[in-house]
Subunit: 158 residues, 4 copies
């Protein structure tokens, strides 16, 4: 059940108990487990797996604010595309590790969001990233203004 | 903290609240969310993604019994390798779906486990699979007898 | 440049030199290299990676017959969805292995194809699979009759 | 067949015909096809897929110089771990696209390599990245000096 702007009727319920949504400028924390699928023959998490973890963190952050991406697409035709990112890999994650993806919205502009994200294990920082995301009209993949409701929601967080 | 047979001191704690471990012959249920990483350009979950979900189900089943795979490897040198599987794809999973992976151990032999697994969404069956897994000595990838403790644990479930 | 039925003007050119398209009932052979992305912490190719390799084999088989899937989608709205598969993993593939995906169309029906596929390394059989694929109308994911031109092309091969 | 430093007897043969190894400071070009596995529900290549493509480019660059990573590991115990990367996504890649991964070694130090990499389609730049890679002792994942032979080989290219 979603309203016309793509906001789900029961915001964040699906992620409840899994993500912790701190208020305002604070960080959103989402747990991720490392499975075989995430590792490689060097015995550690493959470097592209971290980008999958980071996206789960951003997706659950958005869901905790009440917006599922599939519902957004259906109701507004917009979505998000990563425009650039920089990531530092500090310590390797390993099979069975339980990681935390810590996401913080640093900047909101008309068509753009910038996130600071960290991947941690038991308090140790494994990776940190800065990710620039554009709001796009999904059919054309062209930049689109953030829907007003999202911008207001995000504006309170950055 | 793990004992000598690779059993974790606090069985299943990491999965607590996420997997539900039913007793004996009953099924183990683990939730999985569909993210962009799992989908493809046809707009649905990619067919290989289901194998990743199934493995998460088996891994969390094992963890709920007290065995992490990384700890098993360190302490016993053994692990599990899929020998064969058959899967039917009945209905597509889509972005943002919350799925349940339902795993049931059907058969235990000296070096082999057979699982029946299902992927469900809100009560609908999306996929069902039968997966034959061998216990292997990880260095050589040769078949190895299941450690006695595991076999006893599994024996009560099949 | 594609014709109205989605057949590319220069059939198979992009795959030329990489796949070998044998006539009629014979097998189509496509090479695949094992990279870190395909492996896991057990030091071997992850079991879901084989499904990615098998799909590359089927996709390049189709391309060698003159049909790109993106062009098919644009021109006919149809695509292919795997309905079921059975796979046996006989020997592990490892990092840097150069594999051959050997694909053979076993059966063609109005809305369905069945493939026998093998993954080989230097003459050794690593995995074998049987894959049932449905022709679907991509918007609805409902079964659709194979376009006549494809059926004629496939009919000569099975 | 590999020599003691892990160099393959027939340098680059496996990549022959697929990668083009330009001399000295010039770029190494490796083709990559976009399959369903690489795409997501937005209809384009998933943002982490580009990291897989970039790694294939670096791996084939190394192979063209005569070094397979599996052979390196066996003979020297060393490997490569990405320490950081920055990537810009300029235009989306789509299903069936044939891409070129263009890799150029920009810097060689005692334990570190820096690559400039681009992903192109028919002359259009889709993505560009800078990737810092450390030479590591694989058992410990600690930094290790590049083997002398590699350093000499690389030194002529940067």
């Amino acid at each position: 059940m979603t309203s016309e702007d793509g906001r789900e009727a029961r915001p964040g319920n699906a992620g409840a108990g899994r993500g912790v949504n701190l208020k305002s400028a604070e960080a959103f924390v989402f747990p991720v487990r490392v499975y075989f699928e995430d590792t490689d023959a060097a015995g550690i998490a493959y470097y592209a797996s971290y980008l999958r973890f980071l996206e789960r963190g951003r997706t659950e952050w958005l869901r905790a604010l009440g917006y599922g991406q599939e519902a957004l697409r259906e109701h507004t035709g917009i979505g998000f595309a990563v425009r650039s990112l920089a990531i530092e890999y500090l310590k390797p994650a390993r099979l069975d590790d339980e990681l935390l993806v810590v996401s913080r919205l640093r900047e909101v502009a008309r068509v753009r969001l910038v996130f600071d994200q960290r991947i941690e294990r038991a308090g140790a920082l494994l990776a940190q990233a800065s990710v620039r995301v554009a709001c796009v009209e999904l059919k054309s993949m062209k930049p689109a203004a953030l829907p007003r409701a999202l911008r207001q929601t995000f504006g309170c967080l950055a």
